[in-house]
């Protein structure tokens, strides 16, 4: 993970997955639909849909969010 300014869009989705149980449930049942209104790039969106935690981390997703989303933690 590079050290630049945090990638807001990826992290705000991770944050919602951690903190918002209803959003997390929608994401679990249909990830692509749950993410429809987000401003993710195609690469970011694909990593979410596949739930590729390492890829999300490489794209700037916060380690602490990735290890703390209930039921989806990534390590």
């Amino acid at each position: 993970m590079e050290r630049g300014v945090s990638r807001y869009e990826t992290n705000v989705v991770l944050y919602r997955l951690k903190k918002d149980p209803a959003f997390r449930e929608r994401f679990r049942s249909d990830p692509r639909k749950a993410l429809a209104d987000t401003e993710l790039s195609d690469e970011e969106r694909d990593a979410f849909v596949r739930w590729d935690a390492r890829k999300l981390n490489e794209l700037g997703g916060s380690l602490h969010l990735l290890i703390s989303i209930p039921g989806l933690s990534g390590h």
């Binding site: 630049g4 945090s6 981390n57």
Partner: protein
């Protein structure tokens, strides 16, 4: 005139189950040994009977969100709650049995904030942010069943880049020392957070630490080589996984020129654990 009557820094996941689950029996044993030392330190702290306890720690995106991430935030107000979350992860599940509310030392917190604004330290202020394991694991281990003095929680942004520099954290600590010296209170200061872990905040590198780096910085603390510590770069802190050392740098600024005494140092593999005290009294 006020003074700092106790100062220490320590790792802040003081839970045997966490290291038992993630590292195995040797991790569990090492953190149990650390907890025993922190309890001894707590007896010294309680005997110093500070009017206020300043706790410098970081947020793990539990409390602050991407609405805004403060570089430094002082918790003001009358009291502060323990964080409660429905789906707490293992770090924070152990908070469940602890008291729900803690007094804030309003006058000291307000002084740090107001005098900061007057002298070039533009702290954020929070009246409602709760405390997670980074604050309450050390505080509850130090105090056990003894009454906890009014707290002044201070958050440092250790994890959401760009973070404040080591030099700036040290300067915030110098500010803290001035505020204490100008006030009427006896104050204890603790900084929390692990030595190296989670290098580069990379999921792929969980499990790695940097004992060579950790031994070096602990030696610097013993020798009170604060210039070397304050000169650590964001790159060094990131690559070694020493992000939480920023909390310790605030403490170093507050206690300078005191030398550290190592009470515990353990190389676990996943993380290096430590507890240090400074001779300030």
């Amino acid at each position: 005139m006020g003074r700092i009557v106790y100062a220490a820094a320590m790792s802040h996941v003081l839970y045997p189950d966490y290291y038992g689950d993630n590292v195995g029996p040797h991790g569990r044993q090492m953190v149990e040994a650390l907890i025993a030392v922190v309890r001894e330190m707590g007896a010294t702290l309680a005997a110093a009977a500070p009017d206020a306890l300043v706790v410098i720690a970081d947020d793990h995106l539990n409390v602050f969100s991407f609405d805004a991430i403060p570089a430094f935030c002082v918790r003001v107000g009358r009291s502060v709650n323990r964080m409660v979350q429905d789906d707490a992860i293992e770090f924070d599940r152990a908070l469940d049995g602890l008291p729900e509310r803690y007094a804030v030392h309003e006058d000291l917190a307000n002084s740090i904030l107001e005098k900061g604004m007057q002298s070039g330290f533009d702290f954020a202020a929070s009246w409602s942010a709760p405390l997670d394991h980074a604050f309450l694991s050390p505080v509850s281990t130090l105090y056990g069943n003894r009454p906890i003095p009014p707290l002044v929680p201070v958050w440092v942004n250790c994890f959401v880049s760009p973070q404040p520099t080591a030099q700036r954290c040290y300067a915030v600590g110098r500010h803290l020392a001035r505020v204490v010296a100008e006030g009427p209170w006896t104050v204890a200061v603790i900084a929390t957070g692990g030595l190296s872990h989670f290098p580069e905040l990379s999921l792929a590198r969980i499990g790695q630490s940097d004992p060579v780096f950790d031994r070096r910085i602990v030696k610097w603390m013993e020798a009170a080589d604060h210039d070397a510590l304050a000169a650590l770069t964001a790159k060094e802190l990131h690559e070694t996984g020493s992000h939480e050392l920023l909390n310790w740098l605030v403490l170093l600024g507050a206690v300078s020129p005191a030398r550290a005494r190592v009470r515990f140092f353990g190389e676990m593999g996943r993380i290096d654990l430590a507890a240090l005290e400074w001779s300030v009294a």
